[in-house]
């Protein structure tokens, strides 16, 4: 495999993805679009929390919910962003077949298409966290943050999400365009099982193993621990693990998902070519 082909595919797809995501309107409206959605999502949880607790933002549960929800923005953005590129190119712009005959690397092209959503997601995460600190007493002190752990966890976590996105993109290659996207459906399901907005102990016992198998659970725990250490330790879910152990589990699961992503892509790509699905237009 040619290294420059990978770089070229990734960089070109990143630029293309940014144009597709942002040039439908003027920058001002786009900025509002990027800000309002995540803030509204966070505000729903904040209102629910404040009604029941009478606005007790000092309880460790509040930063647990708020941080989990804020970083979960990345899950929807990266996973759905990568897999959406298949539908967008194949069904909307009808350019996937041209991508296939161009001298590019398809998996890296899809990963590049997810970068724009990652950038938009980053802005949304920063604004959500900022609003929490400014208006809701979120105990986030930048001088107390474990920056090393934060950056390593963020990089490994985003890589893991990209691999999950690649798996979904490969599967999307095999199916018709449906109203609800596979990426969004999976992101929605994992919202429930990964302890993003409530500790896993709240789930019925038989559902908890799903959460323990998902790397997102460990990633969110690491993000919380790196930003507000004592908050994460207040919940028993993963308290028996040290930061290093959590990072090891996350890394191991990321490698596992990367392997699954490679195998899934190879199989789905082969089947899609055999069945003539590369230029499928289902017109839904």
């Amino acid at each position: 495999m040619n290294r420059s082909e990978i770089t070229r595919s990734f960089v070109m797809a990143t630029w293309l993805g940014w144009q597709v995501e942002s040039n439908w309107t003027d920058p001002f409206l786009f900025a509002i679009y990027v800000i309002i959605k995540p803030l509204a999502n966070a505000a729903i949880l904040v209102v629910m929390y404040s009604i029941i607790t009478g606005g007790d933002y000092h309880s460790p549960l509040f930063p647990y919910i708020y941080l989990g929800n804020a970083f979960y923005i990345y899950v929807g953005a990266v996973m759905a962003g990568v897999s959406w590129a298949v539908i967008d190119d194949r069904e909307h712009y009808k350019t996937l077949k041209y991508m296939y005959i161009a001298p590019i690397n398809i998996p890296f092209y899809w990963l590049g298409r997810g970068v724009s959503r990652f950038l938009i997601g980053t802005v949304a995460v920063i604004i959500t966290l900022g609003a929490g600190v400014l208006f809701l007493h979120l105990p986030l002190d930048l001088t107390q943050v474990n920056w090393g752990l934060f950056l390593i966890s963020l990089i490994v976590g985003v890589t893991m999400l990209a691999m999950m996105g690649l798996i979904l993109a490969s599967i999307t290659l095999m199916v018709a365009h449906h109203f609800f996207l596979i990426g969004e459906a999976v992101a929605g399901a994992l919202y429930l099982f990964s302890g993003a907005i409530f500790p896993l102990e709240v789930l019925p016992v038989w559902l908890r193993p799903i959460g323990y198998f998902m790397p997102i659970t460990y990633w969110l725990e690491l993000m919380r621990r790196s930003l507000i250490g004592e908050v994460a330790e207040a919940f028993p879910t993963l308290s028996q693990f040290s930061n290093l152990q959590l990072l090891g589990i996350l890394l191991g699961l990321t490698l596992l998902f990367a392997l699954i992503a490679i195998l899934t892509f190879r199989w789905c790509d082969h089947r899609a070519r055999e069945l003539g699905l590369i230029d499928l237009v289902s017109n839904y």
Binding site: I44, M48, S50, I51, T53, A185, A189, F198
Partner: protein
Amino acid sequence: MQSDNLLALSTSKKVTGWKLFLKTVIARAYPRIIGQQREKSWIFFDIFMPMLAVAAYVYVYRAIGAPEEYVGFVVIGGAMTAFWMNVLWSMSSQLYWEKEQGNLALYIMAPNSMMAILLGMAVGGLFATTLRAVAIIVLGSLMFHVQYTVASFTQLLLVFFLAMTALYGMGMMSASLFLLLSREAWHLSNLAQEPIYLVSGFYFPIKSLNFWVAVAASFIPLTLGLDAMRQLIFPSGAALGFLDVKVEIGVLLVLCVIFLAGAKWLLDYMERLAIREGRITESRR
């Protein structure tokens, strides 16, 4: 063969007036009612996606020790999201999709009323979505053991009917606005999900918000519809209600008239504008 077809065309009975209007409504409602049931994965996702949100918010309430009636509020709110999603994606932005697929020009060329087409979409969408909403309520109630105590079936049915009429009237009105949009239609529909869930109190009583925010949110028919339904089916609903149910019924009645009349006026205006500006067949991807 060709002459036979021409003869058949010339002798077929022309339908005009209200009969044509009614046939158009039925014809457009048909794919919504029958077609949507044929795609089994849609039924699954239409129920599965709101159920995920319902379950997530129920567990949040349980994590923070909320009273059990809030679980019921979430189940009902989650079921109502199906209607909002339907209005947003299958009413408001529908004319944009039709334009993308080349059907819009055919609709306008055909000798039928665009209002009838929109009404058909609304009737079909309402029926299909009601089936999904009922499934969400049944599943949610069974999963989370929600108890209901209906204060008045008559008022409950009236609230639902008025809220849906006003909501789909709103959808018909916004569909005409979307007639002028292109790629931005998808993003605007996407943008109108979470903020509306927030201000309309899909997952908590609207009374919890600032009074004037709640008043402004009442412009969206589901806000008052949902609030009134919660008051009528939960014992503690009245205490957490925003306005008296009778007042809410009155406001919903006014909204029905405003949105349906607005849809007719705006559709005529936007259709003329779109034709004049050549936007019926444009495709700015």
